[in-house]
Structure formats: C-alpha cells, structure tokens
C-alpha cells in the first residue's frame, strides 16, 4: 500500500513541481495570449459583450494616423537605437578590456544606469532636457567656445606635424604619434591658445543661449532627411535609451572578448597587422554570435519601449513620442473616452508578430539557438 502510494507520488512529482509555475503561466500568459488574439477580432470595450468583427480592426489600424505614426516611431526607434547601442557597447568593451589598475571600479561605475529604474532615469533626463536645462547649457558652451577649441586642436595637430617633420628631415626615425612630442604639442598648443585668448585675439562668441525644445515640439530631425526624419522628442528618448542599455551589452561583449584566443592576435602581429586591422579582421568576426544576440535583444527591447513615453507624458505631444506599446495602452485606457480593446489587442498582436519576426530572422541566420551560448 505504502509502496503504491510512493510510486504514485513519484509519478506526480514533475506535475507537483511545475504546478505553481503552470498556474501563472496558463492563466496569465497562455489564456491571456489567446484572449488577446480573440479580442483583436472583436469590438470589445471592457463593458459590453464583444462582437466578432473579423479583420476590421487590423484594417482600421492602418487607416488610423496615430497607429501608423506609432508604428513608424517604433521601427525608427528600434533600428537607430539598436545600431548605435551595439556599436557603442562594442567600442566601450574594447576599451574596458584592459588589464590596468582600477578597471573594476570603472566597470562598476558604468553599470549604474542599467540597474536603475526607468522612472528615475527618465525623470532625471526630463529635467536635463528642459529648455533651460543642462543639455542646452552644454550646447551653449560648445557654441561659445567652439572657435577656441577648434584653434587649440588645429594648433595641436600643426605643432605635432612640425616637430615630426623636422625630426624626419634630420633623418631620425620618428612616428607621427610619438608620445613625448604629443605631450610637448599639448603644452605648446595650450599656452598659445591661452595667450591668444588673454590678448583678446580670440573671444568666446557672444551667442544667445541655445534654446532647443527637446520635448515640447512637433519638429522633426534631421531636417534634411525628409520622410525618414523622426520627431525630436523621440530623439531625446533615443539618447536616454542608448545611455541606459550600452553598459548591459558592454558586459556581454566583455565576456565575448575574453573568450577570443590570444593566439589569433599574436599571429596577426607577426604578419604586421596594425591596431585597427586587428580589431576589424579578428575582434569583429570573432564576436559575430554575440553581436547577433545583442542585436536581437536590442531589437526586442526597443520595440517594446513604453515606460519613457508614459513618463514623459504631457511634456511632449503624443504623436511625437507614441510607440506601438504605448498605443496599445492608450487605446485600452484612453482616459476620458471609451476603451477600444479590439484595436488595442490588434496593435498588440502586430507588436508580437514584429518581435517574433526579429527572433525568426536571428534563428535563420544562426541556425540552432544553442550557438548563442558559445
């Protein structure tokens, strides 16, 4: 009797272990997913009984300018942010992949934006993006001192060239980036720039404060891009988003960099490869799989961007920041008017399909998903 009980117990074990997870998974994912799919073909409004309307919602979506705006915003956002954050994450990882003292501190410091909540970061950024905010102030400074900085840099390059060329004419083998000359050039260039400024030959430009509306504007940037231009508030969110996600992806890249065999670099050095050649012909191809992973994760994450739009809220016009995820929320809880659950669900399904397409493309390019763990 006891034996049979325990064998029954053994058979039930997997289901016992899984049941708490399955409870949530079935009700709050599977059922919810199917129900959303069903709602997308109805005219449900949270209160009355849903009526089947076929694909009317999907057609309606593409006729609605707010939705097409959201779709366009989401796609632009996903593509630009993913591209830039992948590049920055790689470059940052290469810089961070050094064996020098204190590197751990820097890795920790850089990771801070990634662990903080979206609301904290977005609030700080809204504050910085105010008309009289930090970002506009830094731009003003750049505008005022642009000439001075330009003169300094020109002097720097000029002096360095002069030093190197005179040495070369004397027949000494020096490189263009000879360290001691760089130090000398920096000192000379600083002194000359300072003197020029002191004698009033160059002055900071008396420019008005830069007054860019980062959030409360319908303007599109870049202005020359025509139909490809995106609203400036969306650009502000892009900056914010890149800033928060670069550190996370940098850590993935760092793990990848440490896995590249040193032999490859040594062989390349024997063949006389320069720094950037090693980067381009060894580092980049070796990190191919990680890059694929990062691009996929980036696209999935950016397509779902919601928090920043909600938090910026009234600070920017709705059309300038709306994304697919926000469109879904906005249609379901529009505030004063009647909820349009049918439309919301249809938009949500489109968002899901877009995400799945991204994943599918990745699977096709990489073959089996197991490759990702390399």
């Amino acid at each position: 009797m006891g034996n049979r009980w325990s064998s029954l117990n053994e058979k039930a074990a997997p289901y016992v272990f899984l049941s708490p997870f399955l409870f949530g998974f079935i009700i709050f994912f599977s059922y919810a997913f199917i129900r959303s799919l069903y709602f997308s073909f109805t005219d449900y409004d949270l209160f009355s009984i849903p009526n089947w309307v076929g694909i009317k919602n999907y057609i309606g979506l593409f006729k609605e300018s707010l939705f097409t705006r959201a779709l366009k915003n989401s796609l632009t956002f996903a593509i630009i942010v993913t591209t830039l954050q992948t590049i920055f994450a790689l470059l940052l990882a290469v810089v961070m992949n050094q064996k020098i003292k204190g590197i751990k501190f820097f890795r920790t410091a850089y990771y801070m934006p990634s662990i903080t909540s979206s609301i904290v970061i977005t609030l700080i950024f809204i504050w910085m993006f105010q008309r009289k905010g930090v970002i506009n102030y830094l731009l003003t400074l750049l505008h005022q001192y642009g000439l001075t900085i330009g003169i300094f840099l020109t002097l720097l390059v000029g002096i360095q060239l002069l030093l190197v060329v005179t040495e070369k004419l004397r027949g000494r083998p020096v490189q263009y980036l000879e360290p001691s000359y760089i130090v000398l050039s920096i000192i000379l260039a600083s002194v000359i720039t300072y003197l020029l400024k002191d004698f009033g030959i160059i002055k900071p430009i008396e420019a008005k404060a830069v007054d860019i509306f980062w959030l409360n504007t319908r303007e599109k940037v870049p202005s020359w891009a025509g139909p490809l231009a995106f609203p400036r508030p969306l650009g502000a969110i892009m900056i914010l988003n890149i800033w928060t996600t670069v550190p996370t992806f940098m850590i993935l890249y760092l793990a990848g960099l440490q896995g590249i065999p040193k032999v490859l670099y040594e062989a390349a050095e024997v063949d006389g490869a320069k720094g950037w050649q090693k980067f381009w012909y060894i580092t980049v191809p070796q990190l191919k799989h990680i890059t694929f992973l990062i691009v996929t994760l980036g696209l999935i994450g950016t397509l779902q961007m919601f928090d920043q739009v909600k938090i910026i809220g009234g600070q920017a016009p709705l059309e300038s920041t709306i994304t697919l995820a926000y469109y879904v929320y906005y249609s379901a809880f529009p505030g004063a008017s009647v909820p349009r659950i049918g439309m919301a669900a249809a938009a949500a399904i489109i968002l899901a399909v877009l995400t799945l397409i991204v994943v599918l493309i990745q699977k096709i390019f990489l073959g089996d998903g197991k490759d990702l763990r390399d």
């Binding site: 997997p14 899984l18 793990a255 779902q304």
Partner: protein
C-alpha cells in the same frame, strides 16, 4: 658594439614611452566615460539638494554643500535651542545672524528691513495646514545693530547683526525671514545663505533659519516625505510607497525562488509528457511583450480570477497587492535560468541518492537546492531589482488610492504633485534619487551577482 647598445636602449625607451602614453590615454577615456555614465547621477543627486535645480546657468556650485553654510545652519539651530544637526526655536531663545551689504557711493544708507513672513515652508497640504500657528505672531525682532563699516573706493561695506527672540511660551521648529534693501544695495555675505534672492537682489528670503544642518542640506528630501500625506489615513505617502515596494519585492523574491527552482528542476531532470513543447512555449512567452497579455490579465484581476476570490469573500483584485503578486508569482525567465543551472550540475550525486532510496522530493530539497545556491543568489538580486523597478504592470493594476502605489508609480504621480505652472524639480529629483538608492547600495554589495544575472539573462534570446 656601442652603436648596437645605443640602439637597444633607444628602442626600450621608446617602448616604455609608448606604453606610458597608452595607459594614460586609456585612463583619460575611462574618466571621460565615467563623467558620462556616473556624472549624470551625481549631478542629479547634487542638484536635488539645491533650492532651485533649474537655475540658469546650471552650476556645480551648491550652497547646501558648503562648509560655511553648514556651520551657519549649526550655529543658528544651536542658538534656537536645537541640537545643531536638527533645529528648533524654543521659548526664550534668541537667534542672531550677521549679514554684510555693499552700499555704492552716493546711496543713502538705510539698514535692511526685517520681516518675519506669515508663511510655512513647502507646498500643498503641508503649507495650507490651517491649524498651525505662525511663528511671526510669537517673536520680536530686536533693533538692528551695525557692527562693522569699511569704506573703499567704490562703496561702503556694512555688516549688521539681526536678532530675533522667541518671547512666547511655545516652541517652534520653523523661522522664515525676509530682508528688504533699497535698490542697488548689494548683498555680500551672511551666516547662512538665503534660499532665494528676488526682485533684482532687493529681497533675500530664508525658508527656515533654525532648520539645523541635516534638514538644511536635505531639505528637498525632507519635503518628499513631509509634503505628501494620504487623504484617507493621513500617513506619509512616500514612506508608504517605500514599504509597498519593499513588501512586494520581497514576496516576489520568495515566490520566484521557490517556484522557479521547482519548475526549473522538473524541466531539467524529470521526465513528463510534453516537456520539450513546454520548454519551447516558455521560450516563446519570454519574447511576447507585456502589452499583449495585459488586457486579459487586467480583466482576470477585475473579475477576481474567474470569480474565485468571491468564494473567500473578496471582490476585484484590482488595486490590491494580492492581485499584483498573484499575477507575477514567477517569471518564465527565472524558470529558464534555473533550468539551465540544474542542467549544468553533475548527475552522479542524484543517481546515488536515488539508489539509496531517496524520493524525488528529498533529492530536490536535500541535494539539488543546496547546490543551487549561486544561481539562487543571482536570481534573488535579479528578481528584487526587477520587482523594485517594475513600472508597467503596477501602473495598470494600482490606480487608486495613492496609498496602494508602488514607488515607481508614486514617483510618476510627483509629476502632477509638483507641477503647478513650472516644475518644482527639487522634490522630484530628491524622490528619484531616494528611490534609486536601495538598488545602488545593493549593487555595490552584490556586484558579482548583478553581472552574472546579465550573462544569465543574456543567454535567453
């Protein structure tokens, strides 16, 4: 031979120089990036101390961080009868401060006019509390003494001593003050820097002369706690939100650890019908955005999980923590992490335990769980961080009353609370910094787990 030697030492020197310049350049780049990644936070944190974080031009100079003002705030609070770090204006105590003005040549010398205004520091309900008594009705201002006068070629510097006495039997903890001077008279220095200088420098105002050092430095942070009260219970909202977030996050960590390790173990080691399909389905679910499922989940909670809660006398689960917790007991990603971890463990111990007659339940609790400590550690951090930072789902579920908010949703409400006309950025920034602190502290203590968490969840794609 000599030439050869020279050449060698030349090469060595060159290599040394290059290495030195390279390391220098790398440190420089690292430092620049630090300014970018950390500077934003630090500048935000610093500005949250300021009286006006939106000042133009933005500066790093913060009155609240100057030693001179700390000493000033301490002395004034001590004079008022407080401890110095926290202040008061007790019965019979007198508070005096020194202020210096510069009178340009040809301007008639009139000492500043001292006003104790009938106002309370702050905003909203705290400032409109009608039962409070104005300190202005209980103090007298002593005649202003001139204590020093220095003339130089473009004006006269005059220092005054202003003394205020609490002549009543009551104790106060607030003493606002305004000073008014004629046009063109310049304010030079004072014991404690004024909170505002208005009307082209003709008026200097202090919110509270006797606040004490700590409330002086963190006055925006105190405002966050002191100015937001619940309408129904009268409790401090911000404190409530912190405890709400803490409560929900801790419960979530417990349920996630328990259920994810159970499900992960079953998926990794046990045989059951449809295992592979279930796993693929879990992977699928991790890619579906929350916006797809939230409509149905909202309805499920509204109807009390198919009316189930009504059996226990409950109603709708919207605006309840039960609803928020029950809909997020364990995430698919957590199950995935635990599955991957258990798959990587050696099978021998398990097999020998089974030969000794241990049941699956015993193997799980006595052998596998103790082995899973590193993964559980990373998962704890990851879950806590996720729950603390979660925004979308609490925003949908918790809409009223404000007592029910989590910290993230509560912070969003600050955008309405502190936006009458222009934004009052002080408390908004202060609230944001306070709410980020627990995670930042956690991060510095458990760095390793955070990084492991990234590589774990990075695999999921």
């Amino acid at each position: 031979m000599k030439i050869q030697q020279n050449y060698n030492s030349d090469i060595n020197l060159k290599i040394k120089r290059r290495r030195w310049i390279n390391v220098g350049a790398i440190y420089l780049i690292l430092l620049l990036f630090s300014v970018l990644f950390m500077g934003t936070f630090l500048f935000g944190a610093m500005s949250s101390l300021k009286d006006n974080p939106s000042e133009w031009p933005p500066t790093l100079k913060t009155e609240q961080l100057s030693l001179k003002n700390w000493i000033g705030a301490y002395t004034l609070a001590r004079q008022g009868g407080g401890s110095g770090f926290f202040g008061a204006l007790k019965s019979g105590h007198e508070v005096s401060l020194q202020i210096t003005y510069k009178y340009p040549m040809g301007i008639e010398i009139i000492p500043p006019e001292v006003i104790i205004p009938k106002r309370f520091a702050g905003h909203g309900a705290a400032a409109l509390d009608l039962d409070k008594e104005f300190v202005a009705d209980f103090v007298t201002i002593k005649p202003i003494e001139e204590i020093n006068r220095v003339s130089n070629k473009d004006g006269i510097l005059i220092s005054y001593k202003i003394t205020i006495v609490n002549i009543s039997q009551k104790d106060f903890n607030e003493l606002p003050m305004d000073l008014k001077v004629p046009h063109k008279v310049k304010f030079v220095k004072v014991t404690l820097a004024p909170n505002r200088i208005e009307r082209l420098g003709m008026s200097q105002s202090w919110n509270n002369l006797v606040s004490g050092v700590i409330p002086y430095i963190f006055h925006n942070h105190f405002r966050v706690f002191n100015e937001n009260y619940s309408r129904s219970t009268g409790k401090r909202l911000f404190t409530t939100w912190i405890f709400n977030s803490l409560f929900i996050s801790i419960i979530k960590v417990i349920t996630t650890l328990t259920f994810a390790s159970m499900a992960g173990y079953a998926l990794a080691r046990l045989k059951f019908f449809g295992k592979n399909y279930l796993f693929v389905f879990i992977l699928f679910s991790m890619m579906i955005p929350g916006q797809v499922t939230f409509i149905s989940n909202y309805l499920v909670l509204r109807d009390g999980v198919f009316g189930f809660t009504k059996l226990f006398g409950g109603g709708s689960l919207l605006n309840t923590f039960t609803g928020l917790i029950i809909s997020g007991l364990v995430g698919a990603a957590a199950v995935f992490i635990m599955k991957q971890f258990f798959e990587g463990l050696p099978q021998e111990m398990e097999e020998s335990a089974r030969i000794d007659g241990a049941s699956t339940y015993q193997i799980f609790s006595k052998i596998m769980l103790p082995l899973a400590k590193p993964a559980l550690g990373a998962l704890t951090i990851l879950t806590f961080q996720g729950a603390w930072n979660e925004f979308f789902w609490p925003l949908v579920v918790l809409t009223s009353p404000m007592d029910k908010f989590t910290l993230t949703v509560g912070l969003l409400s600050f955008k309405n609370t502190y936006a009458s006309g222009a934004f009052d950025w002080g408390p908004i920034l202060a609230g944001a910094i306070i709410s980020a602190l627990p995670i930042i502290i956690l991060f510095f203590v458990f760095q390793r787990y955070f990084v492991e968490g990234v590589s774990f969840s990075g695999i999921k794609g």
